[in-house]
């Protein structure tokens, strides 16, 4: 097959001779929908945001915003996209567009279509309730944290967001939500620039992976899209796994929670609904809503970046991974998964199917991320801590670290020093000094090695002073 269709602003569009590395952004622009802009081509600025239709789990559709620069066009086979042009027109402004226009939400206007899209997604978010998120209309302003504006200083954009009401009953896009979202459509494209597969199920995916062990696995694409755009990476074979039902389960068992590796972070956040407090603390600090709407847990672990934000959290939670291949499944503790810089225990033909988090959860937890910007930034250091106290003695503590070595790691010496000891200021200070020496941090453009080491030490102190009852001694 060398063609497929997708729906753009309500119209089916046939794509002929698509290449596996053409981005949705470039395709939309080449087709004349130039409201979609490239500001960075790495998912940082949101100027290319578009709405996509996704299943809401109840037979209807959610409209979610994603960065079109990170979406490989063939991954959109059979899917539905709405751009700023499709939300409203100059003669018929959508409420989001109207509020942005009249409140001075646009100056140069270049980032504006992307803001409109992210704002529309939040406008249509079914869970939005008046009074939540410190807003009269329940608008979560962090839905816009993945959109950068260099002109306004954001205040009028916030005002526009907070002025929005509820979609009226006959709202065109609103009613779109009541019909089922398009399901993932299997696809095999073959061409001189490489092959693109979207297998129908996990066995199919594992079969392909066995055949092409060097294939690039594509889930949310928030890492691969950057590789393609910025470093011009090209894959001989791409296998899209994000739609696989087997990778999209989230199940609570007596002694563990199992989270599908193909779920995106927004879905996980919504489905966990705060039941894992450490993850609840971590989610908002992971990139931006635009990224979380695509990025998967499997992807964040599988790329094995030393500055990925999920490993410190999951290491603290003592998580393990379910790896699947044609030969079957095996479980590997996350702690043992990372072998070196961007190297893991994944063998040829194997993928991450799920993440297992043991229950019960440690009752005291904290996540600390150090970056220049509070949201939508990459960690220089990230620390996850989960602790169980028995009386005032530490019965168990797990500390996950990111950004201080070639791989994510656990602060083993610190854990050992604290385990079995009274949780007192003196002991914590001693352990914090030890923690400052865990890892082998480097200096780079994000932070100095000295600051990274200092933050390890400070994170434990902050956890002590802010998360536990301070005991002197």
């Amino acid at each position: 097959m060398d063609s497929f269709t997708l729906t753009v602003n309500g119209q089916p569009r046939e794509v002929q001779g698509a290449r596996p590395h053409t981005t949705l952004l470039n395709w939309l622009r080449d087709g004349g929908l130039t409201g979609c802009k490239e500001g960075c081509a790495e998912g940082e600025c949101g100027a290319c945001a578009v709405l996509v239709s996704r299943p809401d789990g109840r037979g209807g559709t959610r409209l979610e915003s994603v960065n079109a620069c990170l979406v490989m066009l063939p991954a959109m086979n059979g899917q539905e996209v709405i751009t700023a042009e499709g939300i409203g027109s100059p003669g018929h402004l959508h409420p989001v567009q109207h509020e942005m226009a009249v409140r001075g939400g646009s100056q140069c206007g270049y980032c504006t279509p992307g803001f409109v899209v992210s704002m529309a997604a939040e406008y249509y978010r079914p869970e939005r309730k008046d009074g939540e998120h410190h807003a009269p209309n329940g608008f979560d302003i962090h839905a816009l944290s993945g959109n950068l504006c260099r002109c306004t200083g954001y205040r009028p954009i916030q005002d526009a967001a907070h002025a929005l009401g509820t979609p009226p009953a006959d709202d065109t896009l609103g009613t779109l939500r009541t019909r089922p979202a398009p399901a993932p459509q299997p696809l095999h494209l073959s061409g001189p620039d490489g092959d693109f597969h979207r297998p129908a199920d996990l066995p199919g995916a594992l079969e392909l992976l066995a055949e092409h062990p060097d294939a690039t696995l594509l889930a949310g694409g928030t890492d691969w899209g950057v590789e393609v755009n910025i470093r011009h990476a090209r894959a001989g074979v791409t296998i899209a796994v994000d739609g696989l039902a087997e990778l999209r389960e989230l199940e609570w068992h007596d002694d563990h929670v199992r989270i599908g590796a193909g779920l995106n972070l927004t879905e996980i956040e919504r489905r966990l609904d705060g039941r894992i407090p450490l993850m609840a603390e971590w989610f908002p600090q992971f990139a931006s809503r635009l990224i979380r709407n695509s990025a998967t847990l499997g992807g964040n672990i599988g790329t094995a970046s030393p500055i990925g934000d999920s490993p410190p959290t999951l290491l603290a939670l003592d998580a393990s991974l379910i790896l699947a291949s044609r030969q079957g499944e095996r479980e590997v503790p996350l702690f043992e998964f990372f072998e070196g810089y961007r190297q893991t225990k994944l063998q040829d033909g194997e993928l991450i199917r799920a993440v297992k988090i043991p229950l019960p959860l440690a009752p005291i937890t904290g996540f600390y991320k150090y970056a220049k910007r509070r949201f939508d930034d990459i960690s220089s250091v990230a620390v996850g801590i989960a602790m169980q106290l028995d009386g005032n003695n530490v019965s168990r503590i797990r500390i996950g670290l990111g950004g201080v070595a070639a791989t994510p790691l656990r602060a083993l010496k610190t854990e050992e020093a604290l385990t079995g000891q009274p949780w007192t200021e003196r002991n914590v200070r001693e352990a914090a000094a030890l923690m400052g020496q865990e890892g082998t941090p480097l200096s780079d453009h994000r932070a100095s090695a000295k600051y990274r080491a200092a933050m390890l030490e400070q994170a434990l102190l902050k956890f002590f002073f802010e998360k536990t009852e301070v005991v002197r001694g």
Binding site: E42, G104, C108, Y110, T112, H142, T152, I378, E425
Partner: protein, 785 residues
């Protein structure tokens, strides 16, 4: 003719209208230069060959392999240039260099049928380099005495006398970073040879006339053969004042050589590694205060890091020297300015144009010295304000000096400064791990180009037979709302509703010899020119109307599309009818307008004169909260009062003030440019070259409470409709964020000590600052609580 500042009754100026393109912006219908390519067939795409050395000779270049890449059509090199191989105005910026001067310098451009083809072609161009010694850091450049351009000195009084017997003398050093413009739309140009043989260029440029001039000299043509249009820019901030010229010239050259339209758009990393930024500075200073804390003397040497070529570094330094006084009277001044030459991008204009750098030096001095003098920083600042009758070190009387004092006093009240000052102190006393800081800083910013000749503008206004109005002017729209204001000015001057006025894109064949849209002067200059053109037309129409209405032409009034005798709106006739009649009476219904700012003079060698038409005033209060475990901080509240004269367009002006503040605060907090200064293989490479590594403020940095107001009853006579410029001054209000962070960091230690703070004040920088404060206590605060 009315005087320039006087507003007619019922005019459109002063209305809070949305941006004239707002509906197009929000629907994705607003077009930018690179959106126009899909409208052309047979388009070629350009991709650069960037050198991987900080400095090197190009010893050999072979493009033959590139031409073998499928889809590659042409490789542009120096041999292809029919005119001058130069992208600048000083002859020091070779379009195709034989000596690479910075990491990422472009040595050739590849044209291909697709962007991928051009990129692969660029990879196939074989270039051999002989690396040469390079200077990356400003320190290395100073040590090597590597300077460029003129060195200048600002001098007043007797510096020795100033220091002699002064009650307090302090000295110090301060180095601070530059800033990437990060306009959301990267540099872009689209060129073709049109049906009449004219070279037509769509360019994202703040200075179309100069883009035209440079393209013409590269092509060996005259200016009349090249037309440049700027539809709108997705942000400029000074970054498109000089930088677009070379890219436009490359697109035009490619188009001339291939006969096909050529599109050139930089991706973000190319834009960041190839184009100039705000100048980083180094300052060494010595300051004297009298017993009561009044400034007596300032001597300083400012060194800017100009990068590899001069570009606008000289005027940027001139403006830095002209703003080192900020709002403060300093009797004895001697400040030297010099421009380091380093192997980096050639630093250029950026909102404020050296003003922020000069101002930052004195504000840093006051912030550091206040505790040593035992005076609260806000008191020390106010104590030193210019008083009426005083003049700047370069000899310009400070007009309306009292306005700053008024504005400051109003803001202290509206921002509830005193009560919050106490509250912050109380908070800090009871919170060992978290401290708050509160600071207020002023801005006095000179308006006009220091280079006197630039203070002129033209406009072309047409009234068509049906009464509709089309205006053209020399300014460009980059989001600052200039076009919105110009429509309001034209509607006001002609006495018609704003929706009768259409504004056509900026083009060099409509209004020639324009100045850059820069120096905050766009509305002052172009507004003056539009008003002039409209009044010429209105005068002719008045003559026609006078006959019809039976009154003297001076007594004809134009309001909201109605023309009537003074005092008798009921006896009016329709503007459209009047225009129709005027046409039949053979009346010229269009006019070219012109404006030159009166009263300016400047001796750039002596650094003396009156370079500015007026000063723009403002002040900001910022409150921050700093986490002692990390140096991470939040902006709790910002209050701003800005003097924009009588605002032409309040929604636009408030937007400029807010955006300027956040951009200024970004420069001083998050935004950090890092170059590889090592001797490794990437020496000279910009390591923060993408949105993922260079962080501008996002929603999370927006102040939690953000109160912005414009000063009332602030008519500025001698400026169009009594307004004042607004583009640049608010950027420097961001200094209050840095001073608040200094206060908060200092609160971790004992009072009365000088608190140093690096710039940008990243969380890491703030952490080290507060650690230093904590260490003075003897041991960490956390242990004592």
């Amino acid at each position: 003719m009315t005087s320039l500042h006087e507003r007619p009754h019922n005019g459109a100026v002063g209305d809070a209208v949305p941006h004239e393109s707002a509906s197009a912006h929000v629907t994705g219908h607003a077009l930018y230069t690179d959106d126009l390519g899909v409208r052309l067939s047979n388009l070629l795409h350009a991709w650069p060959v960037q050198a991987p050395h900080a400095r090197a000779s190009v010893t050999r270049m072979d493009v033959s392999q590139a031409l073998n890449v499928s889809g590659v059509v042409r490789v542009l090199t120096a041999a292809d240039v029919p005119g001058a191989n130069d992208a600048g105005v000083k002859g020091d910026e070779a379009l195709f260099p034989t000596e690479v001067m910075f990491h990422g310098h472009v040595v050739a451009w590849v044209l291909g049928d697709s962007i991928d083809a051009a990129r692969l072609g660029a990879l196939a161009v074989e270039v051999e380099y002989e690396p040469l010694p390079s200077l990356i850091s400003i320190h290395d450049a100073i040590a090597a005495e590597s300077f460029q351009g003129a060195q200048s000195t600002l001098r007043r009084g007797d510096i020795h006398l100033g220091f002699e017997g002064a009650a307090h003398t302090f000295e110090g050093e301060f180095e601070f970073g530059g800033q990437e413009h990060f306009y959301l739309e990267t540099n872009a140009a689209l060129a073709y040879v049109d049906e009449a043989g004219q070279i037509f260029i769509q360019s994202s440029t703040q200075h179309p006339s100069e883009t035209q001039e440079i393209t013409a000299h590269v092509l060996g043509l005259e200016a009349s053969q090249v037309t440049v249009q700027c539809l709108r820019m997705g942000g400029g901030f000074g970054g498109k004042e000089m930088q677009p010229h070379g890219f436009a010239a490359i697109a035009a050259l490619g188009s001339v050589l291939t006969g096909r339209p050529v599109r050139l758009r930089l991706n973000r990393t190319q834009d960041m590694t190839m184009t100039g930024k705000r100048h980083p500075f180094h300052a060494r200073w010595k300051v004297a205060f009298d017993e009561g804390g009044k400034l007596r003397a300032l001597s300083a040497t400012l060194t800017s890091d100009g990068g590899w070529s001069l570009d606008l570094s000289e005027p940027v330094m001139a403006r830095a020297l002209c703003h080192i006084d900020n709002a403060y009277y300093i009797p004895h001044v001697e400040v030297h300015g010099r421009i380091a030459k380093t192997n980096k991008t050639s630093q250029t204009a950026f909102r404020g144009f050296g003003g922020p750098q000069g101002m930052l030096v004195i504000e840093d001095i006051l912030g550091r010295c206040a505790p040593l003098l035992g005076i609260e920083a806000h008191e020390l600042r106010r104590l030193n304000f210019y008083q009426p009758g005083e003049a700047t070190p370069y000899g310009q009387p400070v007009r309306h000096a009292e306005r700053l004092e008024d504005l400051w006093a109003q803001l202290m009240v509206s921002g509830d400064f005193e009560a919050r000052h106490q509250a912050v102190r109380a908070f800090n006393d009871s919170h060992p791990h978290t401290k708050r800081g509160l600071a207020i800083t002023p801005v006095k910013f000179g308006i006009s180009f220091n280079f006197t000749a630039y203070n002129q503008a033209g406009a072309l206004v047409h009234v068509y037979k049906d009464g509709s109005v089309l205006i053209n002017h020399g300014g460009t729209e980059m989001g600052q709302g200039l076009h919105t204001k110009m429509i309001q000015v034209a509607a006001t001057a002609l006495g018609v509703p704003v929706n009768w006025v259409r504004l056509a894109p900026t083009r060099t064949d409509k209004v020639p010899n324009t100045s850059a849209t820069a120096a905050s002067s766009g509305a002052d200059l172009n507004g003056g020119a539009i008003k002039n053109a409209c009044e010429q037309i209105k005068e002719r129409l008045s003559d026609v109307a006078a006959g019809a209405l039976g009154v003297h032409p001076n007594d004809v009034r134009f309001e909201q599309g109605l023309v009537f005798p003074l005092g008798h709106p009921d006896k009016g006739i329709d503007f459209k009818t009047l225009v129709h009649d005027a046409y039949h009476l053979r009346t010229q219904l269009w006019a070219a307008g012109f404006y030159r700012t009166p009263g300016l003079h400047w001796d750039r060698v002596a650094m003396h004169g009156e370079p500015f038409k007026y000063f723009s005033y403002g002040a900001a209060i910022t409150e921050v909260e700093v986490d002692g475990f990390s140096g991470l901080y939040r902006m709790r509240r910002v209050d701003i009062l800005q003097d924009v004269g009588d605002s032409l367009s309040p929604l636009v002006d408030i937007g400029q003030v807010e955006g300027g503040y956040v951009q200024g605060a970004g420069w001083l907090t998050l935004e950090e440019l890092r170059w590889d200064e090592s001797d490794g293989p990437n020496r000279g490479r910009l390591s923060t070259q993408a949105a993922s590594t260079y962080k501008l403020p996002s929603f999370s940095e927006m102040p939690e409470v953000f109160n912005v107001a414009l000063m009332e009853r602030a008519t500025e006579d001698g400026v169009v409709y009594g307004s004042k410029a607004v583009g640049e001054p608010p950027l420097m209000l961001g200094i209050s964020a840095r001073e608040a962070l200094r206060q908060a960091a200092a609160a971790f230690g004992p009072a009365g000590r000088e608190q140093f703070l690096s710039s940008p004040a990243t969380p890491e920088a703030v952490f080290w600052a507060l650690e230093e404060a904590r260490q003075v206590q003897g041991e960490p605060v956390a242990a004592d609580d």
